[in-house]
C-alpha cells in the first residue's frame, strides 16, 4: 500500500523540506510501522535541534513531542500507534505548540 505523509514545521525541515512524501508499506500496516519506516529509510530523527534547544520526537519507540493525524483525526483518539493504515491514507506530522 501507499500512504501520503505530510510533515510540518521543523519536522518538514528534518525530512528535507518535502511537503508530501509517498511511503510504500507492506499490508497490513500500522502507524507504528510507518514511523519505523520513516526513521529507518527517510531520516526522521529522534530529536531535532530548534534554536538553542532540542525538540525530542521519540523516546525509544514512544512518540514524545509530535502530533500524528490520520485522515484529519488524532491517532490518540483512534488506536494510537496500533492504528491501522489503508491505501491512500494521509498522515500529518507536526510538533505541538503550547505557549502564549
Amino acid at each position: 500500500m501507499k500512504v501520503t505523509v505530510k510533515p510540518f514545521l521543523f519536522i518538514r525541515d528534518a525530512l528535507g523540506d518535502q511537503r508530501e512524501i509517498e511511503v510504500k508499506l507492506d499490508s497490513p500496516a500500522t502507524i507504528s510501522d510507518l514511523l519505523t519506516t520513516l526513521r529507518r529509510d527517510y531520516g526522521l530523527p529522534d530529536e531535532i535541534p530548534v534554536g538553542r534547544g532540542v525538540f525530542k520526537l521519540f523516546d525509544g519507540n514512544e512518540v514524545r513531542n509530535m502530533v500524528v493525524l490520520k485522515n484529519a483525526r488524532s491517532i490518540k483518539s483512534l488506536e494510537g500507534l496500533e492504528t491501522k493504515l489503508e491505501d491512500g491514507a494521509e498522515i500529518a506530522l507536526f510538533p505541538p505548540v503550547v505557549g502564549g
Partner: protein
C-alpha cells in the same frame, strides 16, 4: 448607534464591512483568556477595532522577562498585576471600549461565571490545562473559541465552533508537554493578529475562517500551512458517541 466620532475613528474599516459591521463590533462582548504575549496583541487590536466590551483575565504579575513580547506591559509596570496594566492601556488605546480586567486564575469552577454572557472566547493562554477548561466552557455555552499558541518562531491557530468543528480536545486528546517556551514578540503578534482577524470576520459575518483547519505559522522559513482536521465522534468534550 455609532456617534460621529466613532464613524470618523473607524472610517478605514467601515470601508470594509460598513456601518452595520462596525455596529456589530460595538455590540460584541469578547472574553480574552490571558494578558501575556498573545493576550497583548489580541487585546490591543480588538480594542482598537472598537469591540464594545472586552473582559480580559490573567492572575499573573509582570516580570522583567515578559517585556520582550508582552507589549501591553512596560518597564514601569514590573511587579503590577497584568490585569490592571491591561485595563489601563486598553482604555487609553480606545476610550470607547468598555474594558473589564480581572485578576483571577481560570479554573473549572469559575470559568462559566467569568465567561458569563460573553459572545466568544479568545484563547491567549500558555498551557493546555486551562485551554481544555476554555474548550469545555465554549461547548457548554455554545460560543466560539478562537485558539492560538506560539513557540519560538512557530505558531498555530484554529477557530472552533461548537457542534460544527473539531474542538481542541479532538485535535489534541492529550495535553502536549508543558515547557518554558522560547519566543520573540513578533510571533505573538502574527498569531494574535490571525486570531483577531478571525474574531472580526466572525462578528461582521465576512469571508471564510479557520473552521476545521489548523493554521501553522513557520516563522523560521516564513511559511503558512493549513492542516485539515475533523471532529472526533468519541471526543471526551464534544463527542456524540
Amino acid at each position: 448607534m455609532l456617534t460621529e466620532n466613532e464613524l470618523k475613528r473607524y472610517e478605514r474599516q467601515i470601508r470594509i464591512f460598513g456601518g452595520e459591521g462596525q455596529e456589530r463590533l460595538k455590540n460584541a462582548k469578547v472574553f480574552i483568556a490571558g494578558a501575556g504575549g498573545l493576550g497583548s496583541s489580541i487585546s490591543i487590536y480588538l480594542a482598537a477595532a472598537g469591540i464594545g466590551r472586552i473582559r480580559i483575565v490573567d492572575h499573573e504579575k509582570i516580570e522583567l522577562s515578559n517585556l520582550n513580547r508582552q507589549i501591553l506591559h512596560w518597564d514601569k509596570d514590573i511587579g503590577k498585576k497584568k490585569a490592571a496594566s491591561a485595563e489601563e492601556k486598553l482604555k487609553k488605546i480606545n476610550p470607547y471600549v468598555r474594558v473589564e480586567a480581572i485578576s483571577e486564575t481560570i479554573e473549572e469552577n469559575n470559568v462559566l461565571a467569568l465567561v458569563d454572557d460573553f459572545d466568544l472566547i479568545v484563547d491567549a493562554m500558555d498551557n493546555f490545562h486551562t485551554r481544555y477548561i476554555l474548550n469545555r466552557a465554549a461547548i457548554a455555552k455554545n460560543i466560539p473559541l478562537f485558539h492560538g499558541a506560539i513557540n519560538g518562531l512557530y505558531g498555530q491557530a484554529t477557530t472552533i465552533i461548537p457542534g460544527k468543528t473539531a474542538c481542541l480536545k479532538c485535535i489534541f486528546p492529550e495535553p502536549p508537554p508543558s515547557m518554558t517556551f522560547p519566543v520573540i514578540g513578533a510571533t505573538c503578534g502574527v498569531i494574535g493578529c490571525i486570531q483577531v482577524t478571525e474574531v472580526i470576520k466572525h462578528l461582521v459575518k465576512m469571508g471564510s475562517s479557520l473552521e476545521n483547519k489548523l493554521l501553522l505559522w513557520d516563522g523560521l522559513n516564513t511559511k503558512i500551512d493549513e492542516i485539515e482536521i475533523e471532529r472526533t465522534p468519541s471526543c471526551e468534550d464534544c463527542g456524540w458517541k
